[in-house]
Symmetry: C3
Subunit: 366 residues, 3 copies
């Protein structure tokens, strides 16, 4: 049996345009309009590992985001930018979404992939040290993307590794490329946040649902947000924990001069927020902790008229699909953009700027 | 230890010709001899999902089969027809043969693959809705091939999906590309079945072992057979069930005007059949039901002199290897041809006709 | 949290040169200096399966090793030597290292991969015969790399297979490409072992830790070593078993005229060995047997000044990382070289010599 719905779909199924061309989602071109991309700045990433947000300054993040916007709006697959390069995706903590986001980025650029979707379950790592695995990677590829349950795993892999490494999440440490994807979405939504001087009425109230001190993506997002402090008037951290920051992040926040508050009741702050950053799932050892049931959003939530919601997905019931068709939905933009952020990083680290079509507008080459 | 047999093989192993060049198997060229392929007809598939046999008319199936025959007998890999395209193979019900058949088709055309061999077991689908997974696929690829245990799964995926989808088997629903591969084999064997008017002595008796009403591949095969009714003089359905058709298929059969009968004793009809279609394994929820032991074929079975046997493989003992070296064996042809049917569909849906070498004989371009 | 070590690494991470350019590891160029590669000899492999060391003579192994050395020191990825070819890696006994070594070789040459990492666990082989699986492979690819727990599995696959097959380990049988990788490392370390006449003082004492009669990699290594008998003054086999050879290997050793001895006490022979070949892990049915604890090497072991150690990795504690930074470490060279041995074999079997850049020095084409 095939349902009637299927038959109608099959009859009607048109070639669909990119997400942003339908008007609901911000167009990446807004981010690079009347602007250029400084390849010389990006060349600072050549051969480098991407481990922590602390490696980056605001200008570098901006160039990465603008480069990603260019890649999102340009047909570049036929230039085969990563021709001949092998990227190893080694996920010692499985994550289908993140792994496939990286792999899609690699494939779109014509790179090759050696995929290790379950590093802990396969022969790799059965009693073998991470430094030996790093040495093996040297023989097999040109760049390694790693996720691991242990915060220290990246250190151990780097011991023998001779290739650049992109940290795709290390224990309770960092997840820098996710944070860049998050800010890529925010900058598409409000490009004036690029600027160094921003009028008070344009500054945003950032709401963070989660614990930056123990959740790596929230940690990286908060660290990256501090680089854009000129555009932030207030940060609210919504968490059930008494101390969701820890001393290092607390000091960084204090040093930034941004007003911030911590609460366990989202209802006291939600209606003032411009950006609501959700990250529902915390990996705690072998299990997942979901957000308290008070932290749920749907089309009936008391959101500001033009507020936007970020969520790395996958979602359970904390983020209701009734928001999908509204202007609050920035999370689809965020997921789509992540693929292009990763493309920008791969081209930069592997120094394949010369494979970008020469006529690409907005590129300033060295 | 290496056996003596291995050593002899290693010494003798020649470069082997294609399956059909040995004479035992029908040559695909017979299907396109003195004929042309109408690209304009095939362009009706551009951007479309392939969900059900009901989408197709006989002419479209013929063009697909002739295009597949051309691809099977032409060296096309060096034209890189799917260069830059990413195909996602998402198998929520594992099937190594079908998945690899699609993936081989993609790779031969230089497309890229994001493979999800066990959708139910990986992070994908752990509590995540199929419509969210469809939205994720939008960001990662250009076309999705899906198999799922649930008949309604394709509907749910299509909710947010902006890419064309090829249904590789949905629950007890359909499996349209398998049915096309089945008829591709039949048409290679007897090309005159292409015609709209067929002499009575050339019409075939089609034997179907299985239950079209609940087995998706048998369902799609029967629906597709009805498009070729001009060449069918009789259909026998061999099944242990009292009602193997269900009301919708029964009505379609009645409307076709083809003589048909239902029996649970293959011995009463086998010796008259021209095509014996086997499909031994029915997926029933989480388990497999094998055919009754009476339904077994071997070289000693009472087959007509020039009858052929179809079987989608893998087989257990219902189809004996003693038939492999006989002219009754059309199932190897069927399995080989499936890769080219899928190539024809991929090129058509993704509109890469322009990548076919211009000098390819038999192609009529628009 | 990101550790301070990570931050320092990120700051400093330079583009790393190939392994051998640091001086600790032998440069592959030593193996082809003032020498040529005879493509005509290598063409003897076109279309052939690689099943056993017994197929090869010393000259063929030398040409393969020299070709591998050329590939290791030449940028060849941009020539796309395996463009359009599909290689199936079918591992019915999982082995991440060996599989990824083959897959890296394929990808570096721009071949495509159909990967079956766990043949026993997937749909393939669930009650299906190996000869049917071989027939399926015919439809899907151009060459098959197979590992299997059963020694006879390769025979069964070859029954219907029309493609060349590379044996990547069959039960207690052979593992010929590993043995070539082992000797590739030895020849890089001491290129004069290529010669047919070697001065007594240049001949080596080969120590083999393991049981050649039941461990496939050790079996293939010993068989291959006998081809280089002109350079071997003594072979010591260190094993706990009373008869680690079996009658066939014992006869081969006797026929070679090489002095050999069998001992269970490594301390009586270690200080005289020039090459120490370790292979710690024996696959015995479903379990692994580790070497006796006496067979351990570290930087304090009584090794000869210029002795080298081979180990196929992964290692547990039988080979201590304190040896990694010493000149005794030939095992990193060995693992790196394996990828290029496999590249040389793939290009040869698939006859893609014409895709090698014409100006490549040292190549003698037909």
């Amino acid at each position: 049996m095939v349902t009637d719905k299927i038959k109608r779909k099959a009859a009607a199924n048109p070639e669909k345009p990119p997400l942003y061309s339908e008007g609901l989602y911000p167009n990446p071109k807004k981010l690079i309009a009347q602007d250029t991309i400084d390849i010389n700045k990006l060349k600072g990433l050549v051969g480098k590992s991407i481990l922590s947000i602390d490696q980056f300054d605001k200008d570098m993040v901006l160039e990465i985001c603008k480069f990603a916007a260019l890649l999102e709006t340009t047909t570049i697959a036929e230039s085969h930018p990563l021709d001949g390069k092998i990227i190893i995706t080694a996920f010692f903590e499985p994550s289908t979404r993140t792994r496939l986001s990286f792999e899609s980025a690699v494939l779109r650029l014509d790179g090759k992939i050696i995929s290790i979707p379950e590093g802990q379950a396969t022969g790799v790592a059965k009693g073998e040290s991470l430094s030996d695995i790093g040495e093996m990677f040297n023989a097999y590829g040109d760049l390694v993307v790693v996720r691991h349950t242990e915060t220290t795993a990246v250190d151990e892999l780097l011991h023998n590794l001779r290739l650049p490494l992109i940290n795709a999440g290390n224990g309770s440490g960092e997840h820098p490329t996710q944070a860049m994807a998050d800010w890529f979405a925010i900058l598409k939504w409000k490009p004036r946040l690029k600027q160094d001087v921003i009028a008070p009425e344009d500054r945003i109230h950032l709401g963070i649902l989660g614990t930056p001190g123990s959740m790596r993506a929230v940690n990286s997002f908060l660290r990256l947000s501090l680089l854009f402090k000129a555009g932030i008037r207030r940060i609210s951290i919504v968490s059930d924990l008494a101390d969701p920051l820890g001393p290092e992040l607390e000091e960084s926040l204090n040093r930034s001069g941004i007003r911030y508050d911590i609460t366990n009741d989202i209802n006291t702050v939600l209606s003032d927020m411009d950006v609501v950053y959700m990250n529902s799932i915390a990996f705690l050892g072998d299990s997942y902790k979901t957000l308290d049931s008070r932290f749920k959003l749907d089309a009936g939530s008391n959101l500001k008229e033009d507020a936007v919601v970020l969520h790395p997905l996958a979602r359970l019931d904390e983020l209701d699909p009734t928001l999908d068709g509204t202007h609050h939905n920035l999370y689809f933009t965020q997921a789509h953009g992540a693929v292009f952020i990763r493309q920008a990083l791969l081209i930069s680290v592997l120094n394949r700027f010369d494979r970008i079509p020469p006529a690409t507008p907005g590129i300033v080459k060295s």
